[in-house]
Symmetry: C3
Subunit: 159 residues, 3 copies
């Protein structure tokens, strides 16, 4: 165990804006020299999906889920004022204008800063997501691993 402060974030939400908030906090905490973990579960796993389709064998329901869920950070909707996809376009436009990083870049920055990105294996099973379908550089674990991190955490958030 180190003397570093720890921040852990459960990313449950599959909304673009909420994931942005998660990664902005995570990147801030990493810059502050915290040990940071983002534990991605349920719809939050969509942020870790590859954009391209990956050929893996799935059952019918798993295929249905996978087909309906956004493939990757860039495809996610907003929690508010989504307007059938117009909202995300507006937000991304405004972000570009203000030089704010889009979500995929925030994820890359998190990796570069050593933020530990963890995909929840239990919900991967439920939603029928395979490791091949998720981006590189992430770890795989369950709730026990999350708790081991969080019980030493200074800042623990559920997003």
């Amino acid at each position: 165990m180190t003397d570093k402060k720890k921040t852990t974030i459960i990313l449950f939400s599959g909304d673009y804006d909420k994931a942005m908030a998660a990664f902005i906090i995570a990147n801030g905490a990493a810059a502050y020299d915290h040990e940071v973990t983002i534990f991605s579960t349920f719809w939050g796993l969509n942020a870790f999906r590859k954009e391209e389709q990956v050929p893996v064998k799935k059952g019918f329901l798993e295929k249905l889920f996978a087909g309906m869920m956004p493939r990757g950070a860039n495809k996610m909707g907003l929690s508010n004022m989504n307007f059938a996809g117009m909202g995300p376009k507006m937000i991304k436009h405004v972000m570009k204008k203000h030089n704010a990083l889009p979500l995929p870049d925030l994820i890359d920055m998190a990796k570069e800063q050593g933020v530990k990105l963890v995909a929840c294996t239990m919900t991967m099973d439920l939603l029928g997501l395979h490791q091949d379908e998720l981006i590189d550089g992430i770890e795989y674990a369950g709730v026990a691993a999350y708790l081991a991190d969080a019980e030493e955490g200074n800042v623990n958030l559920f997003i």
Copy 2:
């Protein structure tokens, strides 16, 4: 005060998937020997409703609220891809296939493990919910009791 680690979760959401996440974390933390409290407030109270209708006297608006809110954990919708009730059926089907416990069983397990389940009395008042309408084995308290627990907590989450 004991030396045990403490986990407290405010369950605000009335979504099946978010309540699942809350109880999976709670059960995990209890297995890790934490003292665990789930403080259920607003729509989260629906997870503690009995499935059967209980005859209690209510005002008009309270009756309206009670009629529109799902009666019990098994009736709750999803935060995402609910599709007018199809989503929950799909998720439950997939959970059964993968031997994941449905929400009512997660609640029973939490009780067996000694997780303290608390219903927020202020929102019970607002939504017109009576103690007779909620499941057995839960406690009743307000925000002061939550804070007394949470200020000693190692992992505090709002779900």
Copy 3:
């Protein structure tokens, strides 16, 4: 640094009920003698908007966002059972009946109790909100200021 316990709340949500929960917890914690901060970001900033329109220069998209977002705490919708605005009316009616404080009063009480209200400058930029459009008595800061508070926090929540 004082010996006081600390509570920090990120208010991300623009929902009336979630903001109520945030301010009830904040006011409770302040009554418990905690140092309390509410850091308002994204849609949560709507709770800090003035009710009246304030003439400020904006770009097209910023004007669009500002026009679509609720102006002030009293105009916000519910996270659940909003029914195109009927839900908030019902909730407010029921709150009045039970002598529960409406959101604007909860915000005033928080100010009186010395709860630090902070507006996230980064999202103000993104959504095109100016300081003139937000209520008096709040501070302006970014994620670094939030983390400095939260890393000393006993109760840290994301709402």
